[in-house]
Symmetry: C2
Subunit: 377 residues, 2 copies
């Protein structure tokens, strides 16, 4: 069960390789990319404990094609250094990046060297940004270990860190040379993180891939990894990555189409920030945001009521919330929407479904409709 998705970009194309147990193939997969000898593996202590040694062994044992003119020469495996950064969103800072720079210097990483991000979106975003800016850009490989990172953050080249006053304000676009996905690493992922990733999977079903949506509907459960058949996990990963790759290839730097990836995120971000990023996590907030956006589309006569209900049933099956958390003030949400960085000239931009697998973008949603929909949740 190995699937490969190609991300085709004007300057550089790369593969997303999805295959169980492929963590042990990391070194071999990288061997053909003509990378330099030095690799810095970046992770956090929990993830490193689970998978660090396997990744390092694979890198050290790889037979590498030399990056010289004489491409038939091969040499022994990569020279690997590794480091861990403290876990959690609040360490996604320029400070952590500075640590990575120090380690890059200590290990004398060169232009041909590679950073490997082994972790969720936090490690992926930071490692990507450090790689984007060390020596004006060295190679990065993404080895995502959360469902969210597999289907979303590892693909597309957005990298960055938070500013004390705002999320992801500092960053760069820097595409990975390879994304290697081993679904089996999800076995150790906490249930709530699995569900959060599932929110993005459902999103792809609604905005891009009706067939994925149907496959999710056909599964009895979606709330825990162990209840989902390995074949479906593989299909979920392949179709979600394909959706993200399609959108990103058509719009590498957020000119237009990429906006549709924000389905459920407009109200989602407001809910996340109003609950202090703790009570409700990102995936849960996106779930709530999709329920709201779906209903707004229905109110505007753009989407069928039955389709919203099908969407909401999937969300529930994934163990995700469909209602506003108690205590969140509706007027506070309306106000927060105005602060969103995508707001242009005071108009809030919504991504709204028109049928399953198809969305449209509009900034013509009256506040009263938003208010009414939120009151009904």
């Amino acid at each position: 069960m190995t699937s490969v998705i190609n991300v085709n970009l004007p300057e550089l194309s790369y593969e997303i390789a999805i295959s169980p147990s492929s963590l042990d193939q990391l070194g071999q997969q990288m061997a053909s990319l003509k990378l330099g000898k030095k690799v810095l593996l970046v992770s956090n202590p929990t993830i490193f404990k689970h998978f660090g040694e396997r990744a390092i062994t694979s890198l050290r044992d790889a037979t590498r094609t030399l990056s010289s003119a004489n491409a038939s020469l091969t040499s022994a495996g990569f020279e690997v250094a590794s480091c861990t950064l403290p876990p959690g969103e609040r360490y996604k800072t320029l400070n952590s990046i500075q640590k990575l720079y120090d380690i890059a210097l200590e290990n004398r990483l060169e232009r041909s060297s590679t950073m490997v991000a082994l972790g969720g979106g936090v490690i992926g975003d930071m490692t990507g940004f450090a790689a984007a800016t060390w020596l004006r850009g060295i190679n990065v490989i993404q080895v995502p270990t959360t469902l969210l990172a597999m289907v979303d953050s590892a693909i597309g080249g957005k990298t960055g860190v938070n500013h004390p006053h705002g999320k992801n304000l500092i960053g760069a676009f820097h595409q990975p040379r390879l994304v290697l996905i081993d679904p089996e690493v999800l076995k150790t992922l906490p249930m709530r993180e699995f569900r959060a990733g599932m929110a993005e999977v459902i999103k792809y079903g609604v905005i891009w891939d009706a067939e994925l949506f149907a496959q999710l509907e056909a599964s009895k459960r979606l709330d825990q990894l162990r209840y989902v058949k390995p074949e479906l996990i593989q299909a979920i990963l392949v179709r979600s990555c394909q959706a993200k790759a399609d959108v990103v290839s058509k719009d590498e730097k957020e000119g237009g189409l990429r906006a549709i990836l924000n389905y459920g995120h407009t109200i989602g971000h407001a809910v996340e920030s109003l609950t202090g990023y703790r009570l409700v996590n990102h995936g849960e907030a996106v779930a709530i945001g999709m329920v709201a956006a779906g209903q707004i589309a229905v109110e505007l006569g753009m989407w069928q009521k039955e389709d919203t209900e099908r969407q909401n049933a999937l969300i529930q099956k994934a163990g995700l919330p469909t209602q506003l958390p108690t205590g969140v003030d509706i007027e506070a949400i309306i106000d927060a929407l105005q602060l969103d960085k995508k707001v242009k000239a005071g108009k809030v931009r919504f991504v709204l479904p028109t049928e399953i697998g198809v969305v449209t973008v509009t900034d013509e949603v009256p506040s009263d409709i938003i208010r009414q929909v939120l009151r009904g949740m």
Copy 2:
């Protein structure tokens, strides 16, 4: 006397506009670029005192074409905030960038906003890097105020800062939307800085443009701005910028050709670092490096002795050194060459002239030749 050079790159092309008094046209020049309303002007206290108000007035008074679909709409000038960073290479750090981020946040810069770098290479590199990484990339305009920045650092999109243990280790490629050069701002530039820039000008003559070389030869003096005719200054700027633009357009991200810009820099960097970046400045070190490289080429039978002498005469006419500073140990230079970041597999890469206006790149220079040439200086 207005000259415009086009830098053509696959993703984005931009103009280098060279014209006396054009600082007062900054706003108007930017007006047609469809930039957002907000501008952050970045400078240092000395430069700001000389030129800050003129730049700001020009920005505020500009009649701007709106970046909307309806391009015929115009609006009042830019909304300008400004800030200064402490002067000098030792403030070219991530710390200064963090200050720029804070100011960007305070002023709520958006994706369509613009940072304007008013200064030498230090301000240009930092402003460029902050612009490259704020919101994953906003617009930057370069308004260089040193000769070096005009003919070199403002063009080509290299941006970045120093790591405590190495120069320019942190950075990104980020092309400006416009480079605006007003030769008259050079009037306040200290003489030693003028000469340092002249070293790079002579470099372009040797590596790329025999006609520029001839024009430099025809001038009586090159050591101070006031002794060089305004027409020659204009020609120097136009031909040097054209040379850099040519090389950069053919090799945006340092695949190959860009290497020739390092003529004189191999030994130059070693001399700079061995003298602690104080005794000898960058331009002086490059001058010494060109003398050495020229002589190496002669020793290897690649270049004619008369041409080296013509080169060295220009260097002297520009008030630049042609000899090693006393006290610099030749073996220390040989050792330092090995540490250069461009060294591959222990081989030092040299750019060597074969005729005036033409160079070649080689990593086959025996250490003994280097030693012998340095001893002779």
